[in-house]
Symmetry: C2
């Protein structure tokens, strides 16, 4: 069994610590702020319930000291929002010797490339294999400061790594923990399969006024899963698939992917209808809208989802008017510089040439 | 006093017929469909109430026969949605001898240019002066089939004509009927002062899911007049002013214009705050949202508002990312071809060169 440093004390970090411990691994959990982990430090672990069973997972290391969490760990799992990757990679750089794989769970769009680039910038000579999943491996929410409820362990999670050839480094842990993890050829495939980047921006954009008027008092995926949202999502997805196609990657239509990871009905997935896909998404049905537009559906899914998709489109000379427009209007809504702040070609550390990029993978 | 052919039997046509008759003019009202005018034909005129007084305006000609409405008219006022301009101009062409001015009330963005181009295409050798206002001269709604309620006769309506030099042809009627009509130098100024094109697209786009979920059961300008909508409207307005600037036109910031036509408080107008402008818009406060996204806030204000603004921006080499994005997402929401169907450079009959355009005005 494996000693796994879990970096991040949000929903994902708590779920991973509890679930991996329940499977016999040894989790060592790090979080930057003391407040988030004070309750589990006192309890000595995490209560959990739901799809991974009910119980108490003892976590031997729970710390705000990154070195302590890494001590003795053979595998590093990052469960943090993409905006934290750059700071974390800079901090991690001096502790790496190339031997411990780093899994970004999830990687947003191109997280492994951005992470690698930051490690290199920070002077890390021994960059380990960096893997990424296309969506967080859990649907989960904290129920209190020391209790995580896992409503689903996600099926068929896509994963890949840079370098692509070192994907094996991730398979043992992933195959032990998750139902049918699905390897794909390279991180451009996981990048272009970022579930949140397709699922969130159309809905939050087309319900921004509703969110602000009601503080998000409606069901985001279900009530705001209307024909208009489905239309924009469908146009966005057509562009995503055109980008993948240009890169020679065979990504499935989004409703199929969404059904495949267990987030909507098989029939909705096969129908190809985005509206039906939203209507028949049982795990998401009751989830409320964000209480404000200052939310990760904009702040993460635009700069670390749609902006890097746009970057991959530009290198491949693919037009993406819907993606471009969503970025522009989202930036206007929150008065942010998502394009400048996101994962552009420089931040992904990629050359501006398809063949050269493929060599970098 | 003047015999005025009023073309269009919607809110605007009814209001104009009643109001102009109450001032002593002779309205002759045309509408394409019988159904819309059957009740006023039977009554022999229009009941009216509100800001122009209460009464019954006798309308001697109420007809579905265009020639009958034009017979003896010295002035033509078009109160129709922009999408009807092309069909109407084609029908009108054989009846024109260049002597009767045509006023588009309102002209959307560039309506007079599009109207002139269609007349020319239809073989009209004697194109009369064509004027346009920047907003409908009334805030009004029908209360039944033969009753129009006018809540406001709009102040300081901007107007201009093609050719610009023949603007005098409109002044007598406008100055008699409206409080302080405001002449501007040419129709690019009215085009870029199209109130609806700034006021509607951000709000309907950012509340599209809300509209579809509730059938528009909220107040459009007030409840959906949130900070996010104000931010997008502000960025849109910055681009509109940059276009005007490139054309050498001194248009005011939108809150100032909106206050000037009496649609929000003077203080809100002076503050420059779009949020305050929306919050303090008393005439619009109680107006409900459209019951569907298949509505003129998209179907008119995008192809005949933002698309021609984009056209004027392109000729002047001004970048308009917010306007472009609103057009793209709106087209996606309603699955329409607004860019192709709207007033492009060909439909406006303009050359692709600023100096040459200015000669055409």
């Amino acid at each position: 069994m494996t000693t796994i440093a879990i970096l991040g004390g949000g929903n994902g970090g708590f779920a991973a610590a509890a679930h991996l411990q329940s499977l016999g691994h040894t989790p060592q959990l790090y979080n930057r702020s003391e407040e988030t982990i004070a309750a589990i430090q006192e309890a000595g672990g995490v209560e959990y319930s739901g799809a991974a069973g009910d119980g108490f997972a003892s976590v031997p290391v729970i710390t705000t000291d990154l070195e302590e969490a890494l001590d003795g760990a053979e595998f590093i799992m990052v469960c943090l929002p993409a905006i934290a990757f750059s700071g974390l990679a800079t901090q991690l750089a001096p502790h790496l010797d190339g031997s411990r794989p780093i899994l970004l769970n999830p990687g947003s769009t191109g997280g492994s490339l951005a992470f690698r680039e930051t490690l290199r910038d920070a002077g890390c000579d021994s960059v380990p294999p960096i893997g990424e999943t296309n969506t967080l491996t859990y649907i989960c929410r904290k129920r209190g400061d020391d209790h995580i409820h896992i409503s689903s362990v996600v099926e068929n999670v896509r994963f890949a790594s840079v370098p692509a050839a070192e994907r094996d480094a991730f398979e043992d842990v992933l195959e032990d923990a998750y139902p049918s993890p699905t390897p794909v050829e390279n991180v451009l495939h996981t990048a272009l399969s970022n579930v949140n980047a397709v699922l969130h921006p159309p809905g939050i954009l087309l319900s921004a006024a509703w969110i602000e008027h009601t503080d998000g008092d409606f069901r985001f995926y279900y009530d705001a899963g209307t024909p208009a949202v489905a239309n924009v999502m469908s146009d966005l997805d057509e562009e995503r698939r055109a980008i993948a196609d240009a890169w020679g990657l065979d990504v499935e239509p989004f409703p199929e992917l969404f059904a495949d990871i267990g987030s909507t009905s098989k029939e909705a997935g096969e129908s190809g209808s985005f509206l039906r896909m939203l209507r028949e998404s049982e795990p998401n049905k009751e989830i409320k809208a964000p209480s404000s537009v200052d939310h990760r559906f904009f702040n993460e899914d635009i700069p670390f989802g749609l902006v890097p998709m746009q970057t991959l489109a530009r290198i491949a000379d693919v037009q993406t008017p819907t993606i471009d427009s969503l970025i522009t209007i989202a930036s206007s809504i929150t008065q942010s510089e998502y394009r400048a702040d996101g994962w552009t070609i420089d931040r992904l550390g990629l050359p501006d040439d398809m063949a050269a990029v493929e060599e970098e993978l």
